[in-house]
Symmetry: C2
Subunit: 463 residues, 2 copies
């Protein structure tokens, strides 16, 4: 049952064939009208320049506008259009998609096209450009239907039909009051099944969720997604509807936000794109590496304090990487859990303390399990391969085991408290926590391990 027996239709292959074989332009246009824009966009990437230019002519600006937002990198295709046609295509696009495409272009090309846009599109694009990149307003679309709360169900329906030609996000219809302020939303289904004489008020949800245009994306995206609505309105400060976020916008925002957290956990300043040049990728990675290098130097100087231990008992260096790696792993686990919790939920102090306690408890329990394993297996290993007596071998492996327990409890603590601290002082914990935690954990692990070796193995037992 697990295998897909019937292969899926390969629309892209079909499309390439149709485009290459069909000579009649009208026929080609009709055939293409059946296909999804995403598939046409993918098919286009396989065509020659001549084939593409022919296709642009057949498709016309409005259809190209629908297709172009599916390209990963639209620049190359826009370059193949005349400036006038490019501007016409962009004018047909939703403002947020238009902005995405324009952002792929060089600054001069972008300005050139923007100046050729029709007045409406220019206004819409300029509006979105006025937001900071991390403001939710920069992602909204003006593609929505809005009616006055004073209409009857019948009038609302005909107003919807009138607006639906231009605005195709119709599953939620927004309602404004006499001052043009946001007054609620109607589910299209409710409008369709409502009797003509029902007052519109009865089917309006007046406490419909909304966001303000200047809210920070990463702070509100999870909350928006939680409402599980087809669209959410974006309001200006005075309560008017500036635009909406559609469910597909929200998919993209969630994807981006998680991708960013993922990248930051891996020590990248932001998510990377396959097609970006080496130098851009390099710049995204170098900042963290430089910080880590200098923090690493700090750890090195602490290790230096224990040079005397190593000189007396060189075997202890064998297990340094083990203790440090394990502490690092536990810290990363706690960090990752804490960051997701901070994004998803609003924690009060009691819940934060509970989380902290839980992380330390997990650190202790896992540390104890691993500590016992280390004691047993390393003890045997040290006796057999390093030729230490059983007693000494188990003292050394015991030292590793105890270090693991201590280091893992502290790592769990550090991995939880540091992101909480950064969250509290409004610094993105996903960015700032990583290097600090690595360093603090390394320090803790080094001091615990070598300190224990010095006191326990050398001073007390004189191994």
């Amino acid at each position: 049952m697990r295998k897909v027996l019937i292969p899926k239709k390969d629309y892209v292959k079909e499309l390439i064939k149709i485009i290459r074989v069909t000579k009649d332009e009208q026929k080609l246009r009709n055939l293409l009208s059946d296909y999804h824009e995403k598939d046409i966009a993918e098919a286009i990437t396989f065509l020659t320049e001549t084939e593409r230019k022919h296709l642009y002519r057949v498709l016309g600006s409005e259809r190209i506008a629908e297709i172009i937002s599916y390209f990963d990198d639209a620049e190359m295709y826009l370059e193949e259009l005349s400036l006038e046609q490019a501007a016409k295509v962009i004018s047909y696009m939703d403002a947020d998609d238009a902005l995405d495409v324009l952002d792929d272009l060089s600054e001069s090309k972008k300005n050139e096209i923007v100046s050729h846009l029709d007045a409406d599109a220019q206004k819409d694009v300029q509006k979105l450009l006025s937001y900071e990149e991390d403001e939710i307003g920069s992602c909204m679309t003006n593609n929505f239907v809005c009616i006055s709360e004073e209409l009857s169900v019948r009038e609302a329906m005909s107003e919807l039909v009138r607006q639906a030609g231009e605005h195709d996000n119709i599953s939620t219809i927004y309602v404004t009051d006499t001052e043009e302020k946001f007054a609620g939303a109607i589910d299209l289904k409710d409008l369709i099944i409502a009797r003509e004489n029902t007052p519109l008020q009865e089917i309006v949800s007046s406490s419909y969720p909304y966001v303000y245009e200047h809210e920070n994306i990463s702070e509100c995206v999870e909350k928006i997604a939680d409402y599980e609505e087809d669209s959410i309105p974006v309001l200006t400060q005075d309560g008017k509807i500036a635009g909406i976020l559609t469910a597909t916008d929200i998919v993209e925002l969630v994807d981006d936000a998680m991708g960013d957290d993922y990248a930051k956990l891996a020590g990248l300043t932001s998510e990377e794109d396959l097609k970006e040049p080496t130098i851009v990728s390099m710049k995204k990675r170098l900042p963290w590496l430089i910080i880590l290098l200098f923090l690493g130097m700090a750890v090195s100087s602490v290790v230096g304090i224990f040079e005397s231990v190593v000189a007396v008992l060189p075997i202890v260096i064998c297990f340094q990487s083990l203790v440090l790696d394990m502490a690092g792993n536990v810290g990363t686990q706690s960090l990752a859990v804490t960051i997701r919790v901070l994004v998803d939920e609003d924690l009060d102090t009691r819940k934060k303390l509970a989380l902290l306690g839980k992380e330390m408890k997990i650190g202790f329990l896992n540390g104890a399990s691993l500590g016992v394993m280390a004691l047993v297996f390393l003890g045997i290993y040290i006796h057999l391969f390093k030729k230490y007596a059983w007693m000494s071998a188990f003292l050394i492996s015991g030292c590793v085991g105890i270090s693991l327990v201590v280091a893992m409890v502290i790592s769990g603590f550090v991995g939880t408290i540091i992101p909480m601290f950064f969250h509290k002082i409004h610094i993105d914990p996903a960015v700032a926590s990583g290097p600090l935690i690595t360093t603090v954990n390394d320090l803790v692990a080094v001091i615990t391990y070598y300190g224990l070796a010095m006191v326990f193995l050398i001073d007390i037992f004189h191994i």
Copy 2:
């Protein structure tokens, strides 16, 4: 401009007040009808048991059904309902939401409720339960409108109104042929603005994207999201519509898929929940830690080979953690980038080689930058604080610098090739790559660093 000046309405606080103050049940019901189910769900978590039980009576099963899917943990609230009412509530829910709620319950409670469901709901839930957890069929809903392609626009519209009472995902209407097989989809907007005498064929997209019910979620979710549609049909093997995925389902799937990748990068077997018991979290973390412990022991035995180097030149141990950490960081960066690329795109061999080359180039360039910094700063540090002569100090720091370059190039290579390899043999690279990469990088870094120190510092320059 960055601050939100007007505070958002706190619907949850409003709701708590309304519920506590309003004595008249009919009035309360009317007031609540205006609020979003998510906000009511949140308000409920602040009520006492008596208040909740009163509220359940006022709301009625259908509204509770809409609210209950917003709870993080519905078990406690379902327990407060009688078995009959719980079953009635579940019957009103979309099958996929019902399944989510039922999964929170104990096995016995779950079976008890399922046996009390009405026949339709029972069939729907059993159907979803028949899928594996990682199959896309397990996430679909049967809440969609489906019409025959033989209808006229007028008939289609009245069929829609008839079905819309029960099925509220109406922005895309699915079309079946005479054999009841999936034949395409109609955008509701197109149906609304179509003239009554337009043939339905003209507004049907016959090449609409779809998935098969047994496809693996993680393999198809990004592709589904790429279509940016409000819903995607899930087909049986013989081409019939089994259900649909709505945009809000897709938001959830993307969120889950990314959350899982994120968790795996951090060394967790799956994403953790704040409310799960310590022992469950512990079990999610221990497997990786045990694997890493034993791999770490392997690294330890390799470090052991170089004990003689350390005995002669104890200062080299100071910088072991630095070289290992940096190699590990670079490996993680390459790993994270490669995993996202593998999820997002279909790469041919040429593109894979290009990515591999790019990662190594970045490793080299970043390694060189950091190597030079290490050479300069560590050289000065060793001379000033460790009292080595300038010459020796720079030989030692040079050894660290060269190790950084070599280790970072190889880490970039390993961090890219290992996930590609696991992807090729159909093992989830996000799970399998981490421990292997850490270990291989540690080994490479240890051998490079101590090897270089042995040959370069001790054998050649006799420091």
